[in-house]
């Protein structure tokens, strides 16, 4: 039996259950429209300004780091799967199985170290570091 049929079935069920709960709820619940209810909640105060606030740039830096590193895990995973059999395989051995990945991880770590030292994952920046982005012209 193809396992993906079962997985698809669970996905379907996983969708149907919330939808079903929503349907039941919509039958049960009252609807009393009122202007005040639909205001944005700001701890009971009158909402000020829009929600599209400017947020810390670090969120973006982290996301960027993640995109790169997460994808690298994609490349690590196949290696972990074959690693044991590769080590014991004729003509491959420990060095040939391990060294490339060590190199790969070393490059990653150098990249991480660089990002670390240059403040990519530092939430609060020292004022003097902002000098670095002053450019000519």
């Amino acid at each position: 039996m193809n396992p993906w049929i079962a997985i698809g079935a669970l996905a379907l069920v996983g969708l149907l259950i919330p939808l079903g709960m929503m349907a039941v709820s919509s039958l049960l619940r009252p609807t009393v429209p009122e202007k005040g209810k639909t205001a944005t909640y700001e701890s009971g105060e009158v909402p000020t300004g829009g929600t599209r606030v400017r947020f810390n740039i670090q969120y973006y830096m982290v996301a960027l780091l993640f995109v790169v590193f997460d994808i690298e895990t994609v490349l690590i995973f196949p290696w972990t799967v074959i690693y044991r059999s590769a080590v014991s395989m004729e003509g491959v051995g420990l060095t040939k199985a391990l060294a490339p990945m060590l190199l790969f991880i070393a490059v990653l770590v150098i990249g991480l170290g660089w990002a670390w030292r240059n403040g990519a994952v530092r939430w609060v920046r020292n004022p003097d570091r902002s000098q670095r982005s002053v450019e000519r012209q």
């Binding site: 490059v107 150098i110 660089w114 670390w116 240059n118 003097d128 670095r132 450019e135 000519r136 012209q137």
Partner: protein, 497 residues
């Protein structure tokens, strides 16, 4: 030789460049606040010079005479690989030296040099790629740092805009390239170039294959700034910091051609696809059309520009058109000659065009304007730099003051020899047009009178050194064209065979 280097050392230039990039990042990680321009620029230069030396040594020692196949044949080191590694690392060295001055007040110094050397790593890998997978990965390795480099002047609108446009076209074309690869893979069931050729014997899905090949061609067109993916080039070259323009227009373009030569000749052999009995996918014809359109568009657009940098940018498209002759004249039975013409032109172009852009870098360093008129009378202030620039420009135009003359005429001669005299004729007309716009710069520098005072406070050592080196090599390539041609022919022979 007393001892034998391990075979993986055949990729020495690539490793050296890659390690240099990592070393630069480590430097920057150790002291992120201190910006020691000398150390950074020196490291990048030294690294690329070592790569130059390695590739030259390998060439001389005949390392690539018998292709060294690595990693299950997905990389191959032959004469062409080393030939282009020499080009890339030379350009990298020149650019690194020149950037010492150009970047004097800029931020992101270490990143800059690291990205340059990383891109160079990708390029050397491109020249060695023998599998479409490696082609794609190395192409991206060369492209991604380039996008960032173009936009590295974060506060400069031109630079950012250039980076954006370069990136957008690049992303688009690389995805088209990937799709093309997937189609080729679908038809042939392999990504290794020789195996693709083997499996082409009876392609059942000719249409799909043709589409795939055209898409792959499109990917190369982007990298080489050829029509139809040339739109980025003028913008990117104009907006980017001038050393980066030099790097992109020389090394990056050469890399695109290197990999295009190998892919098309090895994976899609002419005998099978173009001239064979079951001729189906005439990519040579496509290359012919691209060559003619590219060189004409590039040269005529260059002739109408107001700014020197943009003129050089368009002229670089024109030169891509010339080199495309190397692919376009392939079915004429003079393949070795034609290919070698393209390759040697790329080598010479690497020096002369880099030099020309570095001169632009010098003028930007001096804050001289961008228009032709702004160069008026510059020769009276900076005679050496202007002499050198004149040498580069006349070389680009194909006048015999250096190797540019040789390579261009060898290329045209090869095209004629292959029976494509019309290609050479179109090239000749374009060459004449190019003479017009190149001489405009010469005219401005030497003939026109200065309209105002130049504010030249210093003669930057690094830029001058890079200019001088590029000029000396360019000029020496006229009498010394023999070895270049020899290696280019060897490289081409290995591909054609």
């Amino acid at each position: 030789m007393a001892f034998q280097l391990p075979t993986w050392m055949a990729l020495g230039p690539t490793f050296v460049l890659g390690l240099t990039a990592l070393l630069l990042l480590v430097f920057d990680s150790i002291t992120p606040n201190a910006t020691s321009r000398g150390v950074l620029s020196g490291t990048a230069t030294l690294g690329s010079l070592v790569a130059v030396g390695l590739s030259a040594w390998y060439l001389l020692a005949g390392t690539g005479a018998e292709p060294i196949r690595l990693y299950q044949n997905s990389l191959v080191v032959d004469t062409m690989t080393l030939f282009f590694a020499f080009v890339f690392s030379s350009v990298t060295a020149l650019v690194s030296v020149a950037s010492y001055d150009y970047l004097r007040d800029h931020s992101y110094q270490a990143e800059y040099y690291a990205l340059v050397t990383l891109a160079a790593t990708g390029m050397t890998l491109m020249a060695a790629a023998n599998s479409l997978a490696v082609v794609f990965v190395s192409l991206e390795l060369a492209s991604l740092p380039s996008y960032a480099l173009v936009a590295i002047l974060k506060k400069n609108r031109g630079s950012v805009e250039a980076g954006l446009k370069y990136f957008l076209v690049g992303a688009l074309s690389s995805s088209i390239f990937a799709y093309g690869i997937s189609l080729v893979y679908g038809v042939t069931g392999s990504l290794l170039l020789p195996e693709i050729a083997n499996n082409l014997a009876a392609p059942e899905l000719t249409g799909v294959l043709g589409l795939g090949i055209m898409m792959v061609l499109g990917g190369f067109a982007f990298k080489t700034a050829s029509v139809p993916f040339h739109f980025w080039a003028p913008e990117a070259y104009e907006g980017a910091p001038a050393p980066i323009s030099a790097f992109l227009s020389s090394a990056s373009k050469a890399a695109g051609f290197a990999v295009a030569f190998r892919v098309f000749l090895v994976a899609f052999p002419i005998e099978q696809l173009v001239t064979g009995a079951a001729a189906s996918v005439d990519w040579v014809l496509a290359a012919q059309i691209l060559a003619v359109v590219t060189m004409t568009l590039g040269n005529f657009a260059a002739a109408t520009q107001d700014t020197v940098k943009r003129m050089l940018a368009y002229s670089s498209i024109g030169h891509a058109g010339y080199v495309l002759i190397g692919l376009a004249a392939l079915s004429g039975g003079n393949n070795e000659f034609v290919l070698a013409g393209g390759m040697s032109h790329l080598l010479v172009y690497g020096f002369m065009n880099t030099g020309a852009f570095l001169f632009i870098a010098l003028t930007e360093y001096w804050s001289i304007g961008r228009n032709f008129e702004d160069f008026n009378g510059l020769a009276s202030q900076a005679p050496f730099a202007c002499t050198v620039m004149t040498v580069f420009l006349f070389n680009l135009a194909g006048l015999p003051v250096g190797g540019g003359f040789m390579s261009k005429y060898f290329l045209f001669g090869a095209a004629v020899g292959a029976g494509f005299w019309w290609l050479a004729a179109v090239g000749a007309i374009n060459s004449a047009v190019s003479l017009y716009y190149y001489s405009r710069v010469v005219k401005a520098m030497w003939i026109e009178d200065a309209s105002g005072e130049f504010d030249i406070e210093s003669k930057p050592v690094g830029l001058y050194a890079a200019l001088a080196a590029a000029a000396v090599v360019t000029v020496l390539l006229l009498p010394g064209f023999g070895p270049v041609w020899q290696y280019a022919t060897d490289a081409a022979a290995a591909l054609v065979a």
